[in-house]
Point group: C2
Chain length 457, copies 2
């Protein structure tokens, strides 16, 4: 469903809402895939959304919840009657229910938890005790477990009963002992292709890739990216199976992580303020997230101002040289940012490693020198033609070449240096380097001018 289709659909739904019966609206809405409904709901006004939501079949409404943003989930549940809300909550996987309840005010979530079936609310309460950025806070505690001495046929029978009854996600079957210690894992594929009288312990894998309840989301993403499994089991300190995390959980984490990486590249801090707050939340949270690196830029640029001030006599003697300052700073900053971007991203994906730092610094310096040389020649001729001074042209051109070469070196060196001292290169690189390049670039330019131009003019 693309953008244009979506607009047409919204229009049709609004027409049905205005002109036709609720029955017809109900039929229309229940015909969509929940992922499409989520797109539709995003475009509807809150009152339209609420009306449509109450017309959905209850299973569809519960399915839909998982595709909606947290804020919309909470709004919808608060606006429908509590009976219906409780019914929907119990139909959600435990981790999804915990996510919604965790986003509510404490007293509101308590009200719901008291109304939910005891076993369900107990399990959800346990999930809520974990930090929401750790495996414990992300996992689904409902996992299909079997004993190691069961046969394949036993397991298939067991699945037939349990998986239906508990609305279980099913990718792997986990083998545990009586105290729920994790012993092994069997994929459904293995299960379906093994002789039915074979013992589980003979087909299970015992070298298990697993997560710990306290593992943080970035580690979880790394593990999923590396091993490429659809689901990983989560255990506690004593190797007791507590739940599992599936690909679709990680997909959300991954998108968040990417957003953080991109935000940080322009000096927007996601440490102090939740990522969602920055784009749409309280405006003062957005300011808090954005000001720190801007302030560091401010301090850095004051150094640049002082460098320029140091050459005040040069400026007074030859004011024309000032007009080239933005040109030099702009291109130095730009090519330096390219180098940073390549290194920070490369370090993040693993394409670039600390051991190859020297190679990359040399490579980038060469690229900076070649592009800088080309641009230097262009600038020399342009300035010569415009200001009728070949010497001025050469000074600006040479400054351009040196600036761009140094910008690539600084832009490549700094992320490696930060990585080497265990500071996240994504956080600090952008604004600091831009300022450093300004400072160094100005010093080079004014030195050249003072050396070669002042006596001549």
């Amino acid at each position: 469903m693309d953008m244009i289709n979506l607009e047409n659909i919204i229009e049709r739904i609004r027409e049905i809402m205005d002109d036709e019966t609720n029955e017809q609206l109900k039929e229309e809405l229940n015909g969509y895939h929940v992922a499409d409904l989520a797109d539709i709901f995003q475009e509807l006004k809150p009152d339209e959304r609420l009306k449509c939501f109450t017309l959905l079949d209850i299973d569809k409404a519960a399915d839909l919840m998982e595709y909606l943003p947290a804020q919309t989930q909470v709004e919808l549940l608060s606006d429908i009657d509590e009976e219906l809300a409780s019914k929907i909550l119990t139909r959600l996987p435990h981790d999804a229910a915990a996510d919604v309840l965790g986003d509510m005010e404490d007293d509101e979530s308590e009200t719901y938890l008291d109304k939910l079936p005891h076993k369900f609310s107990e399990e959800v309460r346990e999930l809520l005790t974990y930090n929401e950025d750790t495996a414990g806070g992300i996992m689904n505690p409902v996992v299909l477990t079997v004993n190691s001495d069961m046969s394949v046929q036993d397991v298939l029978n067991h699945i037939r009963i349990k998986a239906e009854q508990d609305n279980m996600e099913l990718y792997y079957v986990y083998v545990t002992d009586k105290q729920n210690h994790l012993l092994g894992v069997v994929s459904l594929r293995k299960l379906l292709t093994s002789p039915i009288n074979q013992k589980v312990e003979d087909i299970m894998i015992s070298d298990i890739v697993k997560l710990h309840v306290d593992d943080y989301s970035d580690y979880i993403i790394d593990e999923f990216m590396k091993y490429q499994y659809n689901a990983l089991p989560v255990v506690d300190l004593y190797n007791r199976l507590k739940g599992m995390i599936t690909w679709d959980d990680v997909h959300d984490l991954f998108e968040e992580e990417t957003t953080e990486e991109i935000y940080q590249s322009s000096g927007i801090s996601t440490e102090v303020v939740d990522e969602d707050e920055i784009l749409t939340g309280n405006i003062f949270n957005a300011i808090r997230a954005r000001t720190p690196w801007l302030f560091i830029t401010l301090l850095g640029e004051f150094v640049a101002v002082n460098v320029a001030h140091f050459y005040e006599h040069t400026l007074t003697a030859l004011p024309i040289i000032a007009i080239f300052m933005p040109l030099l700073a702009g291109l130095g900053g730009n090519i330096g940012t390219q180098s940073i971007t390549l290194m920070v991203r490369g370090l993040s994906t693993g394409q670039v490693t600390l051991s190859s730092a020297f190679h990359h610094i040399l490579r980038e310096a060469l690229i900076g020198f070649l592009i800088g040389g080309l641009f230097g020649v262009l600038v020399t001729f342009a300035t010569w033609g415009w200001q009728h001074s070949v010497l001025l042209g050469i000074v600006v051109g040479v400054a351009m070449t040196i600036n761009m070469t140094m910008a690539t070196i600084i832009g490549t060196f700094t992320p490696f240096a930060l990585k080497a001292i265990n500071v996240d290169p994504a956080v600090a690189s952008g604004p600091v380097i831009a300022t450093t390049i300004d400072v160094v670039g100005l010093a080079v330019y004014f030195s050249l001018v003072t050396l070669f131009l002042i006596r001549v003019f």
Copy 2:
């Protein structure tokens, strides 16, 4: 396995390589998970890597291939003897084999294709006819299909034979007619929880989310992100099932797409040059990818130079004002980049839509005004204290506030404007806006100086 562990492991492997027998090295290597082996191989020197590779069990070697970067795959296959290479290739899933062969020189891949079993090489050849960025080029053509009149028990029996024999990935069972038209899909979970004598047509889903062989990778990613399935079927123009794409294929696509998005934000073009080439390939390809936007920046900065030149008399009258140029340009550029980053990322994830453009422009303008106001006051006092001129301080401070406010407006408006005319905001925003902010910022600053300062001094 973290960085420190990895270093220790590499060290141990090198010790075994030097001091112990091949048997011991073989035992050590085969004990690792292939994902860990991939990390280890990345750190080894080419000759060490080759030696280790030949010691791996053949199934492990084949598994490992899929975790290695394309370049390493091709290198290893070219360096081992052709017999072994062919054996490994036939053990790969078809899509993985096609990927490796597609990365080789044509005559080299032809040599292999001629040696491989006929059926396998035919299927791989067909895959190679598709564009590698489309569903056809990404999919695995080996899919488990069943007829609609089979019972659940029939299907389970069928899986037991077929899945093992063809080394099939197994997430869903696809229901097709005799001409291989896709009729429905059954999840393994549904299969395992339905009565064994039920007909497949009664439990299959017929509203199938599917991909077309010619769909491009960005569309594929969007579909996977939206519907959150583990696998999607791929059909041709006539709805005939051609293959399927699984989450782990998309994971690689997604990482590439993210890299492109991040590269583009700093004006590194991934249109003309393959993404891998930019970081490690031929240096002239890297220059080709980076120069176009730098050149546009160059043109833009010449406009900025002209603006400054227009105020040459002001500069001559009061050279001190030149020293504040980097300060104003630096902070305007920085906060403007933050706005661009937020909008481009928001448009990409769907958190920001065209219909909310006006709201975001206002919000960013307010943020720019508040941060700019704060910084303006700071700069006013700093300049006043330093240069002992309250008027100079005020002019620089006011210019700072106006600059930062305008930078946020330009940085927010431009991505929306580009999106509205169907230009990818990620491509054009960064360098163009930085330059625009330089030009506008200088004009504001020099106007203020000319109006309020020149007569006074």
